[in-house]
């Protein structure tokens, strides 16, 4: 393993069009971002299934799903783990939202979002809130060992929802 310090990734900033992708959400199923136009989407990139901090982060999101649903938002967890690994992880943690496999080519979606850690071979703990028009409205990269929580996501969803309110 090289000892070069990975460069901190720079996530796509607000105002950028969210790159479209199609990833496996299950061994026999795929999800395309474009199919979620018209509703907010939360992308939560995380380094790996099974590592303790990620577990806590995904467990928190599982608890907060009803808050996200209040905004009509769809949450996806994304890591470089394969679909079978995701399935085992989601089953064990009883996760009720899809985990997408950024597996082949490895980390390609994370790279396009500026959320890949080259030296490490996995993604940053990066969050994106995308509005109904497919525009990134908020992005955040947390230190890899720190659970970024859900407060930033909720504030961003609030801002997106606020604009939709008719004058």
């Amino acid at each position: 393993m090289a000892d070069a310090t990975p460069l901190a990734a720079s996530p796509l900033p607000p105002g950028t069009e969210a790159p479209d992708f199609t990833l496996h959400s299950a061994p026999d199923q795929t999800v395309s971002l474009r199919d979620y136009r018209g509703q907010p989407v939360i992308l939560a990139f995380y380094p790996a299934d099974w590592s303790p901090v990620c577990g806590d982060q995904m467990a928190l999101y599982n608890e907060v799903l009803s808050e996200f649903a209040g905004y009509g938002a769809q949450l996806f967890g994304i890591s470089v783990d394969g679909a079978w690994c995701h399935r085992a992880f989601a089953d064990q943690r009883k996760l009720r939202f899809p985990l997408l496999a950024d597996f082949e080519p490895k980390g390609a979606v994370a790279r396009r979002y500026g959320a890949y850690r080259d030296g490490d071979g996995f993604s940053e703990r990066a969050l994106f809130v995308i509005d109904g028009e497919g525009i990134i409205r908020w992005s955040y990269v947390s230190p890899v060992d720190v659970n970024p929580g859900a407060d930033g996501i909720l504030r961003a969803l609030d801002a997106v929802a606020g604009e939709r309110t008719p004058a």
Binding site: Q57, N62, V146
Partner: protein
């Protein structure tokens, strides 16, 4: 990339809706977001008691609910039980009982505790059964999420999230440090 530039802060200030121990003009306020079925909260419970004893009236302590319903099947109901007891003036008695009896939080135990505490059990049972305090617990939970509570227990000292250890000595030191000179 620095760690969170600004520490997370309470979005819902301590107010009349809260369950509070200690004087309103105490030198320092400690808010806990907890879950009655969470083993870590169970371990924090005697630590908080010890800190309250040591700091006396210099400390105001507030408890808010953050039940992790997906991991702890009894947590939501237990939180509502404490609120139901609170409606009859016995919040802290029930709070203590639940942490001391974390291993027994099934519905029938909750009713038993209500009886032990001398509550109107019929009213308690009815309110618990119809989810009267569900919205209140949800409101606590939401205020926690928006304040940056990521797990339990999470503490706030004078409204700022305490990210260091909550073992007795470091937590006590942090509270003392937060007292204006």
């Amino acid at each position: 990339m620095t760690k969170r530039a600004a520490a997370a802060a309470l979005t819902l200030p301590v107010g009349t809706r809260d369950h509070i121990q200690g004087p309103a003009d105490a030198a320092v306020t400690l808010v806990e977001y907890g879950d009655y079925e969470c083993p870590h909260c169970g371990r924090a419970y005697p630590i908080i008691k010890a800190i309250q004893q040591q700091m006396g009236r210099r400390l105001r302590f507030v408890y808010r609910n953050f039940p992790l319903r997906e991991s702890h099947p009894h947590a939501q109901h237990a939180a509502e039980a404490a609120e139901a007891a609170g409606a009859q003036g016995k919040f802290w008695e029930m709070h203590d009982r639940l942490f001391e009896r974390q291993f027994a939080l099934d519905g029938e135990y909750l009713i038993e505790y209500a009886g032990d505490l001398g509550l109107d059990v019929a009213r308690f049972r009815k309110e618990l059964g119809s989810g009267v305090y569900e919205p209140r617990v949800r409101e606590d939970f939401r205020s926690g999420v928006t304040s940056g509570v990521n797990g339990t227990p999470t503490f706030f000292i004078n409204g700022v999230r305490h990210d260091d250890s909550w073992e007795l000595e470091p937590l006590l030191a942090a509270l003392e440090e937060a007292i204006p000179a």
